[in-house]
């Protein structure tokens, strides 16, 4: 038995070694092979077999925009109607928060009511935090919003808040509706899954152009793009949450004679509420992740401030506006989490007068009324006075200059070493793989890990990439991602292990990771370019910084969730700390580490498009070029290629995690 097993593992490692050896040999000599055989098709996909998919998509798009009609109205009328539906509430929220209400157009407009004063907005937010029954939360949220006012970010922050307040409810309601649909109709769930995969992996830049064409120029298009990007986790979470409602509860509901509607809204959804709130939280975070990209197509707000500040190299301004996004994300995230775990209210006593029944609400209404009236006479009550704002702008600029002047040569040396010994060899390896072998090897590897179905899927998706004429750029993408993921894991996993073992390390590392993930990458991209110049290396640093978070989080989670008895047992046997870590903790945490790896890869791929902004020559650049040339087809095809790489990586790593869990006997 054990002999058979060892023969099996020997065969398995032989398989992987052989596969790698052939790939390496082909990659090294593919160019010579092409010269020797005079067969250019070895390194380039033959032009005449390339799919003109991009042209078809562009044509279909212009037909949709210009000609498609349902008789009485055109397709464009429909999308424009939807935009009007979204724009109306957006305008109201925006007027309420910052612009004030006005009647009439343009300069004939007359303000009929002012917006809420900054004091009133902070009051409302604090009351919400208090209502969620968390004292610490009141303090945290208060500090966050006072930061916005004191650092002069208030106006932009309110514009961003307005789009969040519209995008999040749409994303949540839409996600919940689709989730319920998928729960009720299993076929729909199966059909939705690949669509959701694409929504999460196709870079946003790829579909910005068609959204602009259909929904018009302005904040609405930005909102639509945000919703498309932020909704998928909500759909997934709601389906799973509904499916995991205990069967006994459903039975009980049936016995008391619930209708289908009552069952959904009175039994299923209340029971699933804590899990559903996790989805809401995801939607909020992803919406804030989109702030920068949304501002490129007219959303304005904090994202726009970050972009314009960095375009004129005002690093301090960019950092402050970027931190304002972080601060807002933290406040909204903690608030939504607090509401997720909040218990139900005690029933109110109807005999009491209103102000005693609802003291908090009464107080807020009073605050709004008082500050609104007072704001008409004393402007600082309405708008935070500009003289009292503070800034740390010059500090950041000076700090970067100091590093640049004093340490550039050191950094340059490190960079050159890494480039010569790591990046360039990996680039050559991936760049040299002939496309036919590439398709085959991915199919074989995926088939080996997850069965022949997965192998076929992987090979098919790779063939699509090659047939779109994007093989070279796709390999550059894979090289950049692979290197970044490698480095992110080397840095992230030890940090995660440390955080998993020490509570104090965890709080520091956790805060650092949260900031890195919500801080718009554009903020650190420009300083990185100043220190490392335009090129792959700068792109890699940006990707590593962004993709670090899951490597750390999952490693920490894996270490923390190990059964304490196993560690005790190790101690009883006299293991040293080192042996406990290497022989017990790490092997048991392996499935978690693999999940972390999966997420790291996903985030690295989603960062690719941003790296095009510092000049890489990968699929991200292809998508970005398509965006700047408003070429719908080119953008979507390149976006799909990115998505397919992500999907292949995701499926393979998930299959690996599953088999490693099985081997360890963890369900």
């Amino acid at each position: 038995m054990s002999e058979a097993l060892s023969r099996l593992t020997r065969w398995a490692s032989l398989f992987w070694l052989g596969l790698f050896a052939i790939t390496w040999a082909l990659s090294t000599w593919s160019f010579d092979l092409y010269k020797a055989l005079d067969a250019r098709w070895i390194i380039r996909f033959p032009k005449k077999f390339e799919l003109p998919l991009d042209k078809w998509i562009s044509d279909a798009m212009s037909w949709l925009v210009e000609d498609a009609t349902f008789g009485l109205f055109t397709f464009r009328d429909v999308t424009r109607f939807i935009s009007a539906l979204i724009e109306a509430p957006y305008d109201i929220v925006r007027s309420l928060l910052i612009d004030g209400f006005a009647v009439g157009q343009g300069q004939q407009a007359v303000q009929v009511a002012p917006s809420l004063s900054w004091i009133a907005v902070i009051g409302i937010i604090l009351a919400l935090a208090y209502h969620a029954r968390r004292r610490n939360l009141v303090l945290l949220v208060g500090i966050c919003f006072v930061y916005l006012a004191m650092f002069g970010q208030w106006d932009s922050a309110m514009i961003t808040l307005a789009s969040v307040l519209i995008a999040v409810p749409i994303g949540v309601a839409g996600g919940l509706a689709l989730g319920i649909f998928a729960y009720r109709v299993p076929l729909a769930e199966r059909m939705m899954r690949p669509v959701l995969d694409l929504m999460q992996t196709v870079p946003v830049f790829a579909y910005l152009v068609p959204i602009l064409f259909l929904f018009g120029f302005g904040p609405v298009s930005a909102l639509v793009a945000t919703v498309v990007y932020a909704m998928p986790p909500m759909v997934r979470v709601s389906t799973v949450a509904l499916q995991s409602v205990p069967q006994e509860l459903i039975e009980a509901g049936r016995m008391v004679g619930c209708t289908q509607r009552q069952m959904m809204w009175k039994v299923l959804i209340p029971t699933a509420k804590p899990s559903l709130m996790v989805g809401v939280n995801q939607v909020i975070m992803l919406t804030l992740n989109m702030v920068i990209i949304a501002s490129m197509i007219g959303a304005g707000g904090l994202g726009y401030d970050v972009l314009t500040a960095l375009r004129r190299l005002d690093i301090g301004g960019g950092v402050e506006a970027g931190l304002a996004i972080v601060v807002m994300a933290i406040a909204l995230d903690r608030l939504s989490q607090a509401f997720a775990v909040r218990r139900f209210d005690a029933p109110l006593n109807p005999s009491l007068p209103f102000h005693k029944r609802r003291p908090l609400l009464t107080g807020i209404l009073l605050l709004v009324a008082v500050t609104t009236v007072a704001g008409l006479f004393v402007p600082p009550v309405h708008l935070y006075p500009e003289d009292l704002t503070i800034t740390t702008g010059s500090f950041w600029t000076a700090a970067i200059e100091w590093i640049n002047v004093n340490f550039f040569n050191t950094l340059e040396f490190i960079k050159t070493q890494l480039l010569t010994f790591l990046l360039v060899p990996i680039k050559k390896f991936f760049g040299g793989i002939p496309w036919i072998w590439g398709i085959l090897v991915i199919g074989l590897a995926a088939g080996r890990v997850g069965g022949w179905k997965l192998g076929l899927l992987a090979a098919g998706l790779t063939l699509f990439v090659a047939a779109s004429g994007l093989w070279g750029k796709a390999m550059t993408t894979v090289y950049l991602c692979a290197t970044s993921v490698l480095i992110a894991s080397i840095i992230g996993i030890p940090l995660g292990i440390w955080a998993g073992q020490s509570a104090r390390a965890n709080s520091v590392i956790g805060a650092f990771i949260d900031t890195l993930q919500t801080l718009p990458s554009f903020v650190y991209l420009i300083p990185v370019v100043m220190l490392f110049r335009v090129g792959d290396f700068s792109a890699m640093i940006a990707v590593v910084l962004y993709a670090l978070a899951p490597a750390v989080r999952y490693a920490a989670h894996g270490i923390r969730s190990i059964d304490a008895e196993l560690i005790e047992a190790g101690k009883v046997f006299g293991c040293t700390e080192r042996q406990i870590l290497w022989r017990i903790k790490l092997p048991l945490a392996a499935p978690s580490l693999l999940l972390g790896l999966n997420q790291t890869i996903m985030l690295a791929i989603s960062m690719l498009v941003i790296t095009a902004l510092v000049g890489t020559r990968d699929l991200g650049q292809e998508v970005y070029i398509a965006l700047t040339k408003a070429n719908t087809g080119q953008g979507i095809v390149a976006g799909l290629a990115v998505a397919f790489i992500a999907i292949i990586a995701d499926r393979i790593v998930t299959a690996l995690a599953r088999s490693s869990r099985e081997r360890l006997g963890l369900k």
Binding site: V112, V209, I297, E412, V534
Partner: protein, 313 residues
């Protein structure tokens, strides 16, 4: 009582002022597009303020430089104040061909795009700004990645510019590295300037950078259309692009419906001009001194009332 009165007074004023502006052809807002660089926003704001003073309703809409043409064709957007000959030619030609977008003439500003080096490089490479002198000290500009060639930082690939072809045609010992965005371009310049390190890169004017950093554009053989079309022209008989980049006007374009719906506004838009020097000055005030765009524009309007008041007549 007092707030009530204020509101009433406001409504009254509105009534009166609507009457006063009854002269314009349509009260619908004219949508002017703004992009992501300061100069363009200033140009657009000047135009917008002048139109407002003439009684038109104006709305500024943020839109992408190239993607906006889709909106201009359908009439979602109305006026784009800065389309550069150097970077927007193809998009303009395509849009004019549909007949739905029309040319509203030059803005008076001239776009310059060329290789540029900081002044401190003149000591290292005597003979600058001549391109041959630059080529003779190409080694000074080399980095570990480009060695032994010099490193030239070009614009984003989407800007075109034929720099790879130029290096080839003139036989220059440079490697072209493309920045992803202009923000990355200027980040590198700032970094090199702080260290007084060698750099040669693509800059353009009107922009704040040539005002902030001391330096000059490289002098290539002057551009002619033949140079780009005819390989026989120039020092290299077998290759085109053996010359510098073309300079060209910055154009104004609009949706074709503007002239029918707001003839008076169309006339003003066509009449609009501003000089390179004025623009460079205003951009510098905003991007370098941190002034607000509205204030800078108001200042310009005050100083040049004699000029812009003729546009709307």
């Amino acid at each position: 009582m007092k707030p009530m009165k204020t509101v009433l007074a406001g409504v009254l004023t509105a009534f009166v002022s609507t009457g006063a502006f009854a002269g314009v052809e349509s009260q619908d807002p004219i949508k002017l597009t703004t992009h992501d660089w300061t100069g363009q926003i200033i140009t657009t704001t000047i135009m917008g303020e002048v139109l407002k003073k003439a009684g038109y309703n104006v709305e500024y809409v943020q839109a992408d430089y190239i993607a906006q043409f889709a909106g201009l064709k359908t009439g979602d957007l109305h006026v784009a104040m800065e389309i550069w000959e150097t970077t927007g030619r193809d998009a303009m030609d395509e849009a004019f061909a549909t007949g739905k977008v029309v040319n509203m003439g030059e803005t008076g500003m001239e776009a310059i795009e060329e290789w540029w080096y900081p002044a401190y490089m003149e000591e290292v490479c005597p003979g600058l700004p001549d391109w041959k002198a630059l080529n003779d000290c190409a080694q000074e500009f080399s980095t570990p990645e480009t060695e032994p060639l010099g490193r030239y930082l070009g614009g984003p690939v989407t800007w075109g510019g034929y720099d790879d072809e130029r290096v080839e045609a003139l036989g220059m010992d440079f490697e072209v590295v493309h920045a992803g965005t202009d923000a990355a371009l200027f980040a590198e310049l700032e970094s090199a300037y702080q260290r007084k390190a060698p750099i040669v890169l693509w800059l353009y004017s009107p922009h704040w950078a040539p005002a902030k950093y001391k330096g000059s554009f490289v002098k290539f053989p002057a551009y002619t259309p033949e140079c780009y079309n005819d390989p026989a022209w120039g020092s290299n008989p077998d290759a085109a692009y053996d010359c510098g980049k073309p300079t060209g006007p910055i154009w104004k374009v609009s949706w074709e419906g503007v002239e029918k719906k707001w003839p008076g506004a169309a006339k003003a838009i066509k009449a609009f001009t501003v000089s390179n020097a004025d623009m460079g000055d205003m951009v510098g005030k905003v991007d370098l001194d941190g002034a607000k765009i509205e204030d800078v524009v108001a200042e310009w309007l005050k100083a040049n009332e004699a000029e812009w008041s003729t546009w709307t007549k």
